[in-house]
């Protein structure tokens, strides 16, 4: 080994380790995530949640003025407070959250209402085929077919991990659709339009798939 190979070997070694990291580094990150205290990882994420917002600022929840409006193909358009929603049958679930950019959070505890109970409440028309969820974060929206929205693990959540939904996670109400990527899980839901068909949501207009099934979408040949 001459003088030059030392430097070159170190250089190539770092490149190789970094390239291998593309496949294995998440496990290292997850170990770090367990070691690093919550107070640090809430500022500098090692694993788990990232907060993505698209608007000019994050919406603020005011219980006095907040109403979830439900309109479109319904018999009884509704305007509901969170307290109203809490009077509907309560659903609980534990599910994983997959972001399209690759990070995953397992074991998230959600509390809220099933879509079926909400649709019963407003009396959805038989011609209705889709739901469009409009966020208070302008211009974010996204939609699901009614069939997708009625899957047993889809809900509108007002609670997360044992407490009220926090502002970065979409307070007071977000859609939870664990079988699809995070961008379908609209935060800060303020309006639900019951309509005849789905339409491309915010990220879908930027190239993502409308049917965002985890592992089966967002590929050129999927």
């Amino acid at each position: 080994m001459n003088d030059r190979t030392i430097g070159r070997a170190s250089f190539l070694g770092i490149l190789g380790a970094g390239a291998l990291g593309l496949f294995y580094a998440r496990d290292v990150g997850n170990v770090l995530g367990r070691v690093v205290p919550q107070s640090v990882s809430s500022i500098v994420p090692t694993s788990g949640w990232r907060i993505y917002t698209v608007g000019n600022s994050m919406p603020t929840y005011d219980p006095a003025t907040y109403r979830l409006t439900v309109g479109g193909l319904v018999d009884k358009p509704a305007s509901l407070t969170i307290a109203d929603l809490q009077k509907l049958p309560r659903a609980n679930q534990v599910s994983s959250f997959h972001c399209v950019t690759g990070w995953v959070v397992d074991g998230v505890r959600w509390g809220g209402v099933r879509i079926a109970d909400l649709l019963d409440h407003v009396g959805a028309d038989s011609s209705a085929k889709a739901l469009r969820f409009v966020s208070a974060e302008d211009p974010y929206d996204d939609s699901l077919t009614i069939q997708q929205a009625l899957l047993p693990d889809v809900m509108l959540a007002y609670e997360m991990d044992g407490g009220p939904l926090s502002r970065p996670h979409g307070a007071p109400l977000r859609l939870v659709m664990p079988r699809m990527y995070g961008y379908k899980n609209v935060k800060w839901v303020k309006h639900i339009e019951v309509q005849a068909s789905t339409q491309a949501g915010f990220w879908e207009q930027h190239g993502y798939d409308v049917d965002a099934w985890i592992g089966k979408s967002n590929g050129y040949f999927s």
Partner: protein, 208 residues
């Protein structure tokens, strides 16, 4: 301050050519722009403060593309031979360098062993940033290329680069015996007396 009885205008020697300086400052500017936008995308506190994710993300990606193009242009259009010689020198960690790294006062070349390691790491990190960044971009569009650790590698490189940057800025701007080197990267020239003290092997070879 220099205590040598030399005339007010010290003798200077060229340390960095225009190509090397252009490469350095282009990389530095791009790094700061990418760091600023990257931290907004990465740190929850900044993400929620700034928001406008799509815009910030596009700026980050296009600065990265511009950075990559600029690197290639500087290497091709600039003094390629000189850059190749720099790289040869940087890769060569000789016996004196290894002793220097163990804390011995040994004469050093145009780059001391610490500068060589900084340069090796900077280039390696830049290539890995580009590689992991490319797969972050591609993986979002085609999930066959969404590898589990890509984001972690990109994040870890950020931490390591910031550590490296802090050390580099301290030595270049604050530390009394090394901060003279900054003028080598701005004007291209350093005082011969300073160079004799810190990079003896280089000056002696250059003056022969």
């Amino acid at each position: 301050m220099a205590t040598s009885p030399e005339p007010a205008r010290a003798r200077r020697i060229q340390r960095f050519t225009r190509t090397e300086r252009t490469l350095h400052w282009m990389h530095a500017s791009a790094f700061f722009a990418l760091l600023a936008t990257g931290l907004i995308l990465y740190l929850p506190a900044l993400s929620t403060l700034v928001s406008r994710r799509n815009l910030v993300k596009n700026v980050h990606i296009w600065v990265a593309v511009a950075w990559a193009v600029a690197i290639v242009v500087i290497i091709v259009v600039g003094n390629t031979k000189r850059l190749a010689a720099d790289w040869r020198e940087i890769e060569t960690i000789d016996r004196d360098d290894r002793r220097w790294l163990r804390g011995r006062k040994v004469p050093q070349g145009r780059f001391n062993a610490g500068q060589k390691i900084n340069a090796l790491l900077t280039v390696a990190f830049a290539l890995l940033f580009a590689l992991s960044g490319f797969f972050l971009w591609l993986g979002e569009r085609d999930h066959r290329f969404l590898f589990a650790g890509t984001g972690t590698v990109h994040d870890a490189l950020t931490f390591l680069s910031v550590v490296l940057l802090v050390g580099h800025l301290y030595l270049a701007l604050i530390h009394p015996s090394t901060r003279h080197a900054l003028r080598g990267m701005t004007t291209g020239e350093v005082d011969v007396a300073w160079a004799h003290k810190h990079h003896a092997k280089w000056v002696e070879a250059a003056e022969k």
